[in-house]
Every structure is written in structure tokens, then in C-alpha cells.
Amino acid sequence: MHGMINRALQGFLVDTYGRDVWEEVCSVAQLRFADFEAMLRYDDKVTFDCFEAATEILHKQPNALLEDLGTFLITHEPFAPLKRLLRFGGATFSDFILSLDEMADRGRMAMPDIEMPDIEVIPLDENRFRLRAIWRLPGVGPILLGALRAMADDYGALATLSLDGIEGHRECIRIDVFDTAHSEGNAFVLAEVPA
């Protein structure tokens, strides 16, 4: 798994639960280093072991922890560039949801070897969508759920999102958008004048 993804998991655990918990995770997962390196690659098993260690140490349901991770990816200030890149997907939350089937290609444009989830977007009608997502590791559903809820907030949209079962290996999400301009949301400026 790409270092960026491992680094994000580490960042989430350190920032949310503290360095002590992270050190415990390292020891339970038997990591031979203290920090993931964003620009290196690691075996998928390392990522999986770290996550499993975290659920044990924190006594958390895997899905709850994954959803928190998804929220963190969007709301954590140092990851603002990632959120910005996602906002390029569309002017409204609904446009953004429709652009998710391009997300894997967009991700690869930024980083050719990063493992992006493959997302199928099925519009049920103008305001209702179903996503079918698949990734290298199981758990992409709850991560997306947390991340997309945070994106809805960022767009100022009123929407409900829920896990909607698993089809084959594809984890599904149901999205109902009630209002794309429910609140102000955060402004998105395409390009800023350099200071």
C-alpha cells in the first residue's frame, strides 16, 4: 500500500488518540520503524496489521474507526490540500458525487502508483445515488461514508448517507441529497492569487 495511505492512518491515530496509542500500535503490529514515510511503499499486510492493532487497543468497532478515519481525511486541517483536490470534482455536492467515478483516475493523475478505490456511481434519480466501491483492502465503505459526510458539510449540502450492503466485493453506499445549498459550506476558490 502506498505510503500516503499508511501515513494518513498513522496521522489519524496520532492526532485522535495520541502518540502513546500509536506506539502501542507499532509494537502490537510489530513494525520495525516508528513512522510511515509518505513517499515509500509498504506491504498491504502492514497496513492491515496496524489497523487491526488499533481496533484491539482502542476497543473500537472496525467500521466505526474506519468512518472516523474517513471524516479525519476531509476535516483535518493539514489535509486541506486533499479536500481541495476533491472539490475540483464538481460545483455542487451532487455534481461531486457524480464525479466520484472519475476519482480513481484523478488520484492516479496526482500520484500514478497510489491505490484509489474504484467507485461506480449509480444515479437513482436526480437527488438519490448509490455507490459501489472496491479497494485493495476491505473497509472502503465506512471510510467513504465518513469522508463523504464531511464533504457534504463542506459543500453546505443537506444529505443522508448510509451503508447499503455488500455486492460481491463491492461495498455499497446510499446517498439522498435533500438540498445542495442548505448552509453556506466552505468557499472553494479554483485558484488563489499567490501572496
Binding site: 509518505a38 515509500l40 490540500p81 475540483f88 493523475m109 496526482a110 476558490v189 479554483l190
Partner: protein, 337 residues
Amino acid sequence: MKMHAAARDAVVEMPEHVLDRLLPMHLRVDADGIIRHVGPTAAKLAGDVAFVGRPLLEVFTIRRPSGVETFDVLLRASDLRLGLSLKAAEHMPFRGVLMHLPGEAGAIVNLSLGLSFARAVAEFSLTLSDFSATDQTVDLLYLNEARTSTTRLSEHLTRRLQDAHDTAQHQARTDVLTGLSNRRAMDAELDHLMASRNQSFSLMHLDLDLFKQVNDTYGHAAGDAVLTEIGKILDQELRRNDFPARMGGDEFLIILRPAQSDAVITRVARRIIRRIEEPIRIGGVEVRISASIGVASTPDYLRRPPLAQLMADVDEALYTAKRNGRGQISIFKPQLE
């Protein structure tokens, strides 16, 4: 001919909102060169004074092709790639193409932000909905930003790898106990000196006297403490240009560069021995040792000797010093034929 006329009519009658969606950065100019209609994104470039009703060449400077002063000349550049900029924002070059419409219908000019896209999007506060669905400017902005982020990460990694590399290299060349260079570093330094033929140097081989007794009587920890002390003494007594190294056990090799006269070498060696002979306190006990020193200098040879020869001669000098008793110095003199 009939077909042609039909096609012409189709263009002329194209509803404005269709062109606005397809080409949001287009301008429609009449036969006299006056702007008659502006696409919604192009309108955002106008700022305070709207474009409509003004002559095209009053609003834009045509940079390419050069020498376009009148609208009639510009019409001849139909179908060519244009380089142009707003008179109100000369620093922001646009790319464009003008198509001369048949008859007296004037022309359509379509603009693109060209390579100044990032600055232009910021300066004119353009948004996602200002670009048509087929325009890849937004993808360019996305890529531009993604590249900036990943480059920053790469630079960060490179810097940390460089630091780790430097540390590892330093550790690989340092004797842990004394903080002096180790045998590996000395070998590299000697190879380097031998390769640069015009650098003269003196080589000093220092061997501790009575060190074995310290180890045997007080244990290895005491021996280590003595070696640490020797490291400090050599560090203090030598000049910055000189190069002391612990070669292993109680053996030290020192490069003095450039080579020194016998008088200077003797003075330096005596000073080192005197310091080593000062009692060293370790825990509750006082330890007394001494050192013997053998020396060879490259200028003493007629021709630069090979390294193996020089090392053998320094060793011989050390044995001579040892044979003469404790705390002695011996300088090797080659047989000059």
C-alpha cells in the same frame, strides 16, 4: 452551392445560449469589428467596463501574428492561432482563434487561458461552472495543485534521506569509543593522499605502553576509559588539518599534513606522550600509562613510496621506539642511494 448556403444559415441562426454553453469564452464581433455579444466566462474578464459595443481592437492587443493594427488585417488571420491580451491586463496572455463568418456576419473569437491559466483563474475569480464540461482547464488546475503537493512531499523525503545518509556515513567512519576516525576512515584518507601525489605528509604510529596492565588489573571498563581519554588528548594536541584515527586495540595512526620537520614532529610527539603520561583518574584509582611513537615522512624518500612501504617503515620506527624503552620517539630514515 445550395448545401453551402444551408450550412451558412445554420451557423448564423445558432441560438446564443448554445454557443454560450459550448464556448463560454467566446466573443461575437460584427463586420466593423465591434463586439456584439460576449460568452458568460469571457464577460468575467471585462471587469468594470463591459465589452459589448466596444471595438475588439480597443479591448485586446493582438500579439500574434504581429502587426495587426486594424480589424480588416485581423480578419485575414482567420483560422490561425492568436496570441492576445487584454489592454487592461497586459501581463496575462490568452490564446485564441478567430473565425471569419461568411458574408457580413462578422467573426467569432474564442479564447482560452493558455498557460497563464492558474493566474487567470485567480485574477478573474473564475469558478468550476465557468468552464464548459469539455474544457480541461479545471483538470490542469487540479494537476498543477497535486503536483505542488507531491513535489513538497518528495523534497521533504529527500532532505530526510540526505540527513540519514550523512549520519550513517559519519557513524561508519567514527570510532565509537574515542570519537576519532576509525580504520575505515583512515584507509580512505590514506588512499586519497596517495592519489594526490603532490601532498606531502608525515605518518605517526602511536602505541600505548602499559595498557595491557590497565586492562588486566582494572578490567576492560577501565581500559575503555583510558582509550576515551587518549581520544580527547589527540583531539586537543593536533591541528585541524591533522587526521588522528584509532586503528583498533591501543593502536593509533595520525596523519600530519603537510609533512613536518623532524624538530616539529619530535615536539608534537613529546607533547602527546607527556599528556598521556599524566595520571588518569578512573573511579577511585589513578592509572599511569605511556606511549611509543614511530614516524615516517614522505619528503624523506627520493620517490613517493607505495603505501605498503610507508606503513612498513612506520611500523619499523615504532618497534625501534618500543625497543628503546617506554615513551620513546623514533623517526624512520630511508636508505638514500
